[in-house]
Amino acid sequence: MDLGPRSLLRSTFAVAVVLAALVLTAPPLRAASKLKIVTATTDLAEFASEVGGDRVEVESIARGYQDPHFVEAKPSFLLKLRRADLLIVVGLQLEIGWLPPLITQCGNPNVQVNGNGYLDASQFAEILEKPTGVVTRAMGDVHPFGNPHYWLDPENGRRIAQGIEQKLAEMRPEDAAYFQQRFQDFGRRLTEAEKRWDAEMQPFRGRKVITYHRSWPNFLKRFGLTAAGEIEPRPGIPPSPGHTVDVIRLMRSENIKVILVEPYFDLKTPKAIARETGGQVVVLLPSVGGEKEVTDYFQLFDYDIDLLTRAFKATQ
């Protein structure tokens, strides 16, 4: 029994039928309606909706209370990405563990890396902690291009918003004036708020804190604080007993009382350290949406600064 050529024919036919079915079910070309923007994190979504107003639809992939390094590459995100006109990412390898496979699989040419609808927000911001010299993983899960938690300086927020404004204006020239006006309004409110935040943080300039992960260099620099050490021995490495003892010693010798922890880290070690040193653990939010009531970029700083100033006062 010789089925060879027939078999080939049938296989080819089967594939052709599947292809035809897929083509027929393709969605209609999208009309010139609202720009669909997908962002990696909630903060970028905030900037995009501040600038884009009612001319855009914005969705974030990560939630504000989620560790942005460890978002899962869920297929449901492909549903968002496949229809997106613009994808805005944090960059600096923050999303390297989950975004690349999503981009490859989504079947949307716009949002491919360096495509027309791909925007890396890190190009607009001031980036700190770019490693110099030899970079190895003995340094932990190091980000070789600099610290990706850069949105926590309001000035970077302004720069990113401006970058997004330019991108939107380029994509929708007819709405350019609208985006510009929205950006200027955002900038004005930000300037006002910054005055308030600076005034609140003024008494505590020069203070040292301990952080869990290196999420805060831009925030600390902005408000004149320094991180004396981290609870993680190296980025991405869980606390070790030896290092914990070092941190306790350091806090005692330098009289450091405040420990900053992101909402997605375990509080056991930070609390143990705080008990030993008479310090306070502050669960500071790195992103909009970290708590239910923190729904925009302004509230994020209001919330963090309120907690921080209270902790500083309590441990004076």
Binding site: L22, P100, T104, R137, H243, Y264
Partner: protein, 429 residues
């Protein structure tokens, strides 16, 4: 303090050996200061180089304007060595942009693919009459090259080195910019038949592959062949992800498919449905079909059907610490032979629970008939424990019990070390 001590002791048991070399704080601070000085030096140099007033410096500092983040490997020591071409390149420095030290070599690397090497070392003790695994073995070294080819495609190569010999595990081009939402692939690839068949060894939650894979779906390499693949997300009710994949391969895959003539191609189809049940829980279902020719001869075909279901749980606020995965895959094989058609069935059911940032425990139950003699059924189970010193290395222990159809049984203990060099890969999902 006592609690801390107890905690310390416990943690030391697990991590003491690996992290015994923590430095004392003064040394660390000194090191930090040194690093800061180095950074400042680099910055001063960079600033000087940018001043038009100091031409010699500017010439020494070769400069390829690189988009902001990429310029970080500024090793001052590398600055004086640029070749003449590099010096001329310096002329094109855009004012205001930082030069890259050692620019020539850095620039030559810019378009290199992401390179990664994954080592998989396997040790085994115990006895297994049917499946022999060496005592100590550098089981596999996988080298990955991945890059974007052009605005329309990307390519991925995975070469696996055994202790002897090299195998192209996968090497394919992915068309990412096709119209109509299609994603196309061309090359040699693991076929989309089920879940475990698509996974590389280093992302498996076990040290081995399920019995059903070994008996029915082509063993360790699985259905892995040269061919074409097209997939597309299908329209579905809101919040349901539905994706169809169609593939055609040459028709050679381990001992399951064999092509003696050009016409003996293998076709594979896969349908995947996925839904988020809550933000931390999701359900992933799949159905697969494969049809090709087997090694009995060109007129003899093997058809495989597969079904799989995975339930995942991972709380978003504690994603680093806890997760749970429950996975089942079922396989039906229909193999035409000289005397009869063998209809074999096999499945595995497996679960993994992440206890904390470092430890994961899991287990698997196996049961499978044999493709060429369906009446013979093997079964077994495996408990597994995995320890992660960091995201880039893992140590795994597994006990495997197998009851073979002939009445003999196998008892194996496996110990595996996995380690990753180079580019940060995607986390498995």
């Amino acid at each position: 303090m006592r609690r801390l001590m107890v905690l310390s002791c416990l943690l030391l048991l697990g991590s003491g050996i690996l992290f015994g070399q923590e430095k004392d704080p003064t040394q660390e601070r000194l090191k930090a200061l040194e690093e800061r000085i180095a950074a400042l030096e680099a910055e001063v140099k960079a600033l000087k180089a940018n001043q038009p007033a100091s031409p010699p410096e500017a010439e020494a500092a070769t400069s390829v304007p690189v988009p902001a983040p990429a310029a970080s490997t500024a090793a001052p020591a590398a600055a004086p060595e640029p070749a003449p071409q590099a010096a001329s390149a310096a002329a094109s420095t855009t004012p205001g942009q930082l030069p890259v030290y050692g620019g020539l070599s850095a620039a030559s690397k810019v378009l290199n693919p992401d390179i990664s090497v994954i080592g998989d070392f396997l040790g085994a003790v115990g006895r297994d009459p049917n499946r022999s695994v060496p005592t100590l073995e550098m089981h596999e070294s996988e080298v990955g090259f991945q890059a974007i080819v052009d605005p329309y495609a990307r390519a991925d190569f995975f070469l696996t080195f055994g202790e002897q010999g090299v195998n192209l595990e996968e090497g394919y081009l992915t068309f990412t910019a096709l119209p109509g939402g299609f994603v196309g692939k061309v090359g040699k690839m693991r076929s989309a038949f089920g879940i475990v068949n698509t996974l590389h060894n280093h992302v498996l939650p076990w040290t081995d592959r399920p019995l059903a894979t070994e008996n029915l779906v082509g063993g360790e390499d699985g259905i892995n062949d040269a061919g074409l693949s097209v997939s597309r997300i299908l329209p579905a009710p809101k919040d349901i992800f539905l994706e169809a994949t169609a593939q055609v391969f040459r028709g050679d895959s381990g001992d399951v498919f064999h092509s003696t003539r050009r016409g003996d191609v293998l076709t594979v189809g896969h349908l995947r449905a996925y839904r988020d049940l809550t933000e931390s829980t999701n359900l992933d279902l799949g159905a697969s079909w494969a049809r090709g020719h087997n090694d009995v001869g060109t007129g003899f075909r093997t058809q495989l059907f597969g079904a799989n279901a995975t339930l995942r749980w991972k709380p978003l606020r504690r994603a680093v610490y806890h997760s749970f995965l429950f996975r089942n895959e079922f396989f039906w094989s229909r193999r035409e032979q000289l005397d009869s058609t063998q209809r074999a069935f096999g499945f595995y059911t497996a679960a993994d629970y992440r206890l904390n940032q470092r430890w994961t425990i899991g287990g698997r139950y196996d049961r499978s008939g044999r493709a060429d003699m369906a009446s013979l059924t093997d079964s077994g189970f495996s408990p597994v424990i995995t320890y992660w010193p960091s995201e880039f290395s893992q140590i795994r222990g597994q006990y495997r019990f197998t009851r073979y159809a002939d009445g003999r049984s196998g008892n194996d203990f496996f110990m595996q070390f996995l380690f990753v060099l180079g580019a940060h890969g995607a986390h498995p999902f």
